[in-house]
């Protein structure tokens, strides 16, 4: 148990947790009892049913989605989790090979190590619309809190590196060449801990369960498994069969007419087409990890 530096309540530490959240006053603090800066949260602006309706509309834009998806896909369950991120506002001068670049950037660092390698790792947040953290709100929304195990010092280092990368990319885009930027003098480096509500939902289609993940504040779809329509799979299987048959026929033709190069290249290329058709026929779902806004 660790005492909250603001209200004095005893707060239980979760395994691995390095930044604790007081469930009484919402203060975020380290194990040594230091406050980590403003603690904000994104609000839940979409119900799970609403997000499922939006997801179905979004999924229609994915080419492989079955045509009866809208009517046949049924909602199964949804978990709401508030994931922690460090959001920094960084401004200052950055040294480049050509001189000094003055820039202001906003960077997001996941404060939960289990987000690494998941679609949530690259989430970029804006501080716009974020309000002070309320544990009561999390409970009322039926959500749970993911433990923050990336401390502020580690996040600070990652934030400077991320800011340098952002400025490097910005300059690279503008100058059309590599222009590595290194932070020289940072006038502003403000850190905030932001808990972001994320839905992880299960739905059913054709007797199978699929998953999608969406931002509950702005409805961005962050990850989606979408079934592939059965008739496409059947057509792909027919295409595969025809391609392999043609490969065998062309091989025989090449040998019969003494065309060795033809007998080698054409059957191989046709077998390649057959393999691709077979791959399409075997895929029962497509996985999309792109943001809604980019579709």
């Amino acid at each position: 148990m660790v005492a909250c530096p603001y209200c004095g309540s005893e707060v239980e530490q979760q395994p691995g947790e390095t930044v604790l959240t007081c469930p009484y006053c919402g203060t975020a603090f380290t194990l040594s009892g230091g406050e980590v800066g403003e603690h904000l949260m994104g609000r839940v602006n979409y119900t799970s049913q609403h997000i499922f309706e939006l997801f179905k509309l979004w999924a229609l834009r994915i080419p492989e989605t079955p045509n009866d998806f809208n009517s046949k896909a049924s909602f199964s369950s949804c978990d709401l989790t508030f994931y922690p991120y460090w959001v920094y506002e960084i401004a200052g001068s950055f040294r480049t090979a050509g001189g000094v670049e003055v820039a202001a950037v906003e960077v997001t660092i996941p404060a939960c190590s289990r987000l690494r390698g998941t679609p949530l790792e690259k989430l970029k947040l804006s501080l716009s619309g974020k309000v002070y953290y309320s544990h009561r709100y999390v409970a009322q929304a039926g959500g749970k809190l993911a433990a923050a195990d990336v401390g502020p010092e580690e996040a600070d280092r990652a934030a400077v590196a991320a800011a340098e990368l952002t400025v490097t990319e910005r300059l690279g885009r503008r100058l059309k060449r590599s222009a590595e930027a290194r932070a020289e003098k940072l006038e502003k480096m403000e850190r905030k801990l932001v808990h972001v509500p994320v839905y992880s939902c299960l739905y059913e289609y054709g007797g199978r369960a699929y998953r999608f993940v969406a931002d509950a504040s702005d409805s961005r779809i962050l990850y989606a498994e979408i079934p592939v329509e059965a008739r496409f799979r059947a057509a792909a299987l027919a295409g595969a069969g025809s391609s392999f048959a043609l490969a065998a026929a062309s091989f025989a033709l090449g040998l019969a007419f003494s065309l060795p190069a033809f007998a080698l290249v054409t059957p191989l290329a046709l077998a390649g087409v057959g393999a691709y058709c077979l791959y399409k026929a075997s895929a029962r779902e497509v996985v999309v990890k792109e943001f809604f806004a980019k579709s």
């Binding site: 007081c22 469930p23 006053c25 919402g26 203060t27 603690h39 904000l40 609000r43 602006n45 939006l54 509309l57 229609l60 834009r61 080419p63 989605t65 998806f69 809208n70 050509g98 001189g99 804006s126 716009s128 619309g129 974020k130 002070y132 953290y133 309320s134 544990h135 009561r136 709100y137 910005r170 885009r173 503008r174 100058l175 059309k176 504040s217 702005d218 409805s219 329509e229 496409f232 057509a235 792909a236 295409g239 025809s242 391609s243 043609l246 062309s250 065309l259 190069a261 033809f262 007998a263 290249v265 054409t266 059957p267 290329a269 046709l270 087409v273 691709y276 058709c277 809604f292 806004a293």
Partner: protein
């Protein structure tokens, strides 16, 4: 358990017009007045702080210090329309809204904002568009999508190194008289570029639009020849539920527009440097670049955007359209079975062709490089045609 309630109209420390309400349990003499006074005090905090646990904790502590035996306090906040006084619940992201009760348009601080709206076309036109695609409409939804439009003048000083190739006739003793040689040379140029531009920036944090980039470009084009009329309160009220609330302030959007225009200026500077080189330019390297963007006009506009789904045969497809004339932005079109079969057959033919090309090249001893190139192109065509055969819809 009986409750004490309080309700006040206030302005937060960050200038937002709000209603604050509080409920404290259990009710006791004098608690409602104390709660009302407390809400006036709490309003000195920011809008963001009023949502947090800390404000509730502080309120509870304050009431206890006044001698009230209070077990729990709830504090709630909503926006207050400065014209009709309606209580309005908005997402915290919203920075500008249209009051659905009186049609007032303004920011969350109570400042009136002038917005312009292009009129939407009739629903029948969307239905006509769908029928023109050979389908039957399933759902049609109208949304007014907000954009900040900026008119700006841009100026940038630059210096660049231009690497170019120049033809140098070579002749004279021991050489062919008309021989031409190419030499690579460098020249350092500097100059200033100036231009005026219009940029549209979506005023939503994440625009949930099918064909979002096409819509942005439509706004920029349309602004050039037909600026929309200013929205009056009477006209705003009926369309308010369809208007997406802007989530990006004009200042933040101006930063985005400035960034885009600085990129454009860098491109313009490169083109300028390219024009000044006396030969075929191979590379332009900007050494110094100092842009200055002056925003001369800023307007908030709403574009009428239709999203529709339609059925054709057994397939369900989606599409979007914009404006009074309902111009299609992005539409999914079915790909017929005959087209699919043709694409797959095409891939088979390309595979057969590749084999025959290599066979012929080997027999007639064609340059191996040419042979590899021809075979490679044939195999690439095979792969492309095979993959396109399984695309379930065309997007146009």
């Amino acid at each position: 358990m009986p409750e004490a309630r309080a309700f006040v109209a206030e302005t937060t420390s960050d200038g937002r017009l709000v209603y604050l309400s509080a409920v404290a349990r259990p009710a006791q003499p004098g608690l409602e007045q104390a709660l009302t006074d407390l809400l006036h005090e709490l309003a000195h905090r920011s809008y963001s702080e009023l949502h947090g646990d800390r404000v509730r904790f502080d309120a509870l502590q304050a009431l206890k210090s006044m001698g009230f035996a209070v077990e729990d306090v709830e504090v709630a906040v909503s926006y207050r329309c400065p014209q009709c006084g309606a209580s309005i619940q908005l997402n915290p992201e919203a920075v500008i809204y249209v009051c659905p009760y009186c049609g007032w348009v303004g920011d969350v601080r109570g400042g009136k904002v002038s917005v312009r709206v292009w009129p939407a076309g009739q629903r029948e036109l969307v239905e006509g568009l769908v029928r023109g695609l050979g389908g039957e409409p399933v759902s049609i939804e109208l949304r007014y999508v907000p954009f900040w439009v900026f008119e700006a003048s841009v100026e940038a000083d630059y210096s660049a190194t231009v690497v170019y190739r120049r033809a140098r006739p070579a002749g004279g003793y021991g050489r062919q008289p008309y021989e031409t040689r190419y030499v690579i040379e460098r020249v350092r140029v500097s100059g200033r570029v100036r231009f005026r531009a219009t940029r549209a920036v979506p005023a939503r944090l994440h625009t949930e639009v099918f064909g979002g980039e096409e819509l942005r470009m439509w706004v920029e084009r349309k602004w050039g020849f037909q600026q929309p009329p200013t929205l009056e309160a009477g006209a705003a009220k009926p369309i308010a539920p369809s208007m997406l609330a802007p989530e990006l302030s004009g200042e933040v959007a101006a930063e985005v527009a400035t960034d885009m225009l600085e990129d454009d200026a860098a491109e313009e500077a490169r083109s300028d440097a390219r024009r000044r080189a006396p030969g075929y330019v191979e590379e332009v390297r900007l050494e110094f670049f100092s842009p200055k963007v002056s925003i001369e006009r800023r307007e908030l506009v709403f574009a009428p955007y239709w999203f529709f789904t339609y059925r054709r045969g057994s397939g369900l497809y989606s599409g979007s359209a914009v404006g009074s004339e309902v111009s299609p932005l992005r539409v999914e079109l079915p790909l017929s079975n005959a087209e699919r079969a043709a694409r797959l057959a095409g891939s088979w033919l390309a595979a057969a062709g590749s084999g025959l090309v290599i066979e012929a090249a080997l027999r007639w001893q064609v340059d191996p490089l040419m042979m590899l190139l021809a075979a490679g192109l044939g195999l690439l065509a095979t792969a492309k045609l095979a993959s396109s055969a399984f695309a379930p819809a065309k997007v146009g």
